[in-house]
């Protein structure tokens, strides 16, 4: 009886219907870090980076999303995130994605979005500080 109940549970429970999500596009980590640093230098505006609409490379590392951004709320962007040092994660619009070194995850930002990036995978004592307001 208990065994049957267990099997029924395994078949029914929504928790194991979803499979593993992809980790994103595989990249050379060192090259992506260099690309992000060059991008940040190119679009530096005071304390933040003001990128043009389009792709924006971004690093997740203890305990920040780097570089700090100031997006234009009326424009569209594609944030391209890679973890630099360890595993982090980010949740946007109810969808969470794991960030690991060597893989890039994309987040599309549409005009009017009000997003804040927050790390959702415990990464050390400063984990709860790891946030980035995009505007």
């Amino acid at each position: 009886m208990a065994g049957l109940a267990f099997l029924a549970l395994a078949a029914w429970w929504p928790g194991w219907r979803g499979g593993e999500q992809p980790l994103g596009q595989a990249v050379d980590p060192a090259a992506f870090v260099a690309e992000t640093e060059a991008f940040a230098t190119r679009h530096q505006a005071g304390q933040t980076v003001r990128p043009p609409p389009g792709a924006v490379p971004l690093l997740a590392r203890r305990f920040e999303f780097w570089p700090p951004l100031a997006l234009d709320p009326g424009e569209s962007y594609r944030l391209r995130l890679m973890a630099q040092d360890s595993v982090h994660s980010v949740a946007v619009n109810g969808r969470e994605m794991l960030l690991v070194p060597g893989h890039v995850q994309d987040i599309d930002v549409a005009p009017g979005d009000q997003l804040e990036l927050r790390c959702n995978e415990y990464c050390g004592l400063g984990h709860n500080r790891m946030r980035l307001k995009l505007y």
């Binding site: 267990f6 549970l9 429970w13 929504p14 928790g15 969470e96 794991l98 990464c123 709860n128 946030r131």
Partner: protein, 424 residues
């Protein structure tokens, strides 16, 4: 030795075991309270520099404060409950010895300032071999007390076994070379979730005892569903990679879908059985109602959490508060009288439970409101970003509730320790 004298002797050891488990549980709470004082000292200029590991003592004290006031307190109370009816007191006393050594080891590591603090979810740790040995000894000691005939806690014992199995599987599946923060988070994530089935089973048993409720078909179904829900963790382990996102989210789903029904069924059953019989003005009735109120509000909050804000601590402080109110009531109304050491009939126990339960409710309410306004969890000082009156008032309510709850906790520890230690 005659059968009668053997029975008397066994009962003597059973009562000794119960008293010692209670002593260990309440002592763990007392030490956790002392470490909370250490948290304040670790932020005090001048004093922080003479602490074993300087300002870093804050996080180390925080880890052991959480482990003692949450894991050790609840698990040793579970062992105490098991001791009330179990056969083989020798096994229980052996378990007690292991757990006491484990607790002493963890405290020694904390005070010596050894190991890096990791504030991972459910079971935060100091990353030092002796700390893990201490945790393991407490785990083994509670298992020795729980896994024996006659405890009346078979379903909870099963859930506990699943939790330990999840910890063991995680140790085996997570490579040692992973980043320490990530590895420790994942190491305790699965088993930590299953331990919430154990804690829920503990509070369900406490409700039954407070109400003088005999097992019924419905209560057996409730405990059966609890054990079944915990067993679902085994499927998660088989299906998913412990380094992946699906594995982590499956455990969140496990609590969402499998944990709420058993305590609701049990509460309905207890309420139906005790509605006319129980004196709701008695201390036991008061504790039962207070526990249900705090537990239900905390449970409801669990379905409306944010991401990384203080609504999460609001949820778990209320859940733990609801469990603790029931356990405090059980100690005062049932376990101390069984040891022939009842607290003097007075209004103090009633005040104590009211202060603790009410304080936890305020604490949780403040956290929930602050979380709605966007205050991040596990932050302090300027990091909290209290940039509006609403956030300031909400966090003020958090502090006020904490102070009231701590007062209730101190009263509980004081009166119970006095009754357990004093020779009558």
């Amino acid at each position: 030795m005659s059968a009668k004298s053997m029975h008397v002797q066994e009962n003597h050891f059973r009562m000794l075991e119960l008293r010692l488990w209670l002593l260990l549980a309440v002592a763990a709470l007392a030490v956790a309270g002392g470490l909370a004082l250490g948290l304040a000292l670790a932020r005090t200029p001048g004093i922080q520099d003479v602490l074993p590991s300087g300002p870093a003592f804050f996080h180390k004290a925080l880890v052991t404060h959480v482990v003692f006031s949450f894991q050790v307190w609840l698990l040793t109370m579970l062992a105490a409950l098991a001791a009330t009816g179990a056969a083989h007191p020798g096994s229980g006393l052996l378990g007690l010895g292991l757990a006491a050594i484990g607790v002493a080891l963890m405290l020694a590591v904390t005070l010596a300032g050894w190991g890096e603090a990791s504030l991972n979810n459910y079971v935060p740790v100091l990353d030092h071999p002796l700390y893990f040995v201490g945790l393991g000894l407490v785990g083994a000691g509670v298992a020795a007390a729980l896994w024996r005939p006659g405890t009346g806690l078979a379903a909870v014992g099963w859930c506990y076994g699943v939790a330990l199995a999840c910890f063991a599987v995680a140790v085996w599946r997570l490579p040692a070379e992973l980043d320490p923060a990530f590895r420790l988070e994942r190491l305790f994530w699965g088993g930590g979730h299953v331990l919430q089935f154990v804690n829920t089973g503990l509070v369900m048993a406490a409700w039954q005892i407070l109400a003088g409720h005999r097992p019924t078909l419905l209560s057996r179904l409730a405990f059966g569903l609890l054990a079944l829900g915990a067993s679902a963790a085994l499927v998660v382990e088989i299906r998913f990679d412990p380094q992946g996102l699906a594995w982590r989210q499956a455990y969140t789903d496990l609590l969402w879908y499998m944990l709420p029904l058993p305590p609701v069924l049990l509460a309905v059953d207890v309420l139906a059985g005790a509605w006319r019989r129980l004196d709701w003005h008695s201390l036991a009735g008061w504790a039962l109602l207070a526990s249900w109120l705090v537990f239900a509000l905390g449970g409801g909050a669990g379905f409306a959490l944010g991401a990384g804000d203080t609504r999460t601590p609001s949820h778990y402080h209320a859940m733990i508060g609801g469990v603790n109110v029931a356990l405090m009531g059980m100690v005062l109304c049932v376990l101390l009288p069984r040891l022939q050491r009842p607290v003097a009939a007075s209004r103090l126990p009633r005040w104590q439970i009211g202060l603790y339960g009410g304080g936890q409710l305020l604490h949780a309410l403040g956290f929930y409101l602050a979380g709605m306004a966007g205050v991040a969890r596990k932050t302090a000082g300027a990091e909290q970003g209290l940039d509006s009156a609403f956030k300031l008032v909400s966090m003020g309510v958090v502090g006020l509730g904490a102070a009231v709850a701590v007062l209730g906790g101190i009263l509980f520890v004081g009166q119970v320790l006095a009754r357990l230690v004093r020779h009558d």
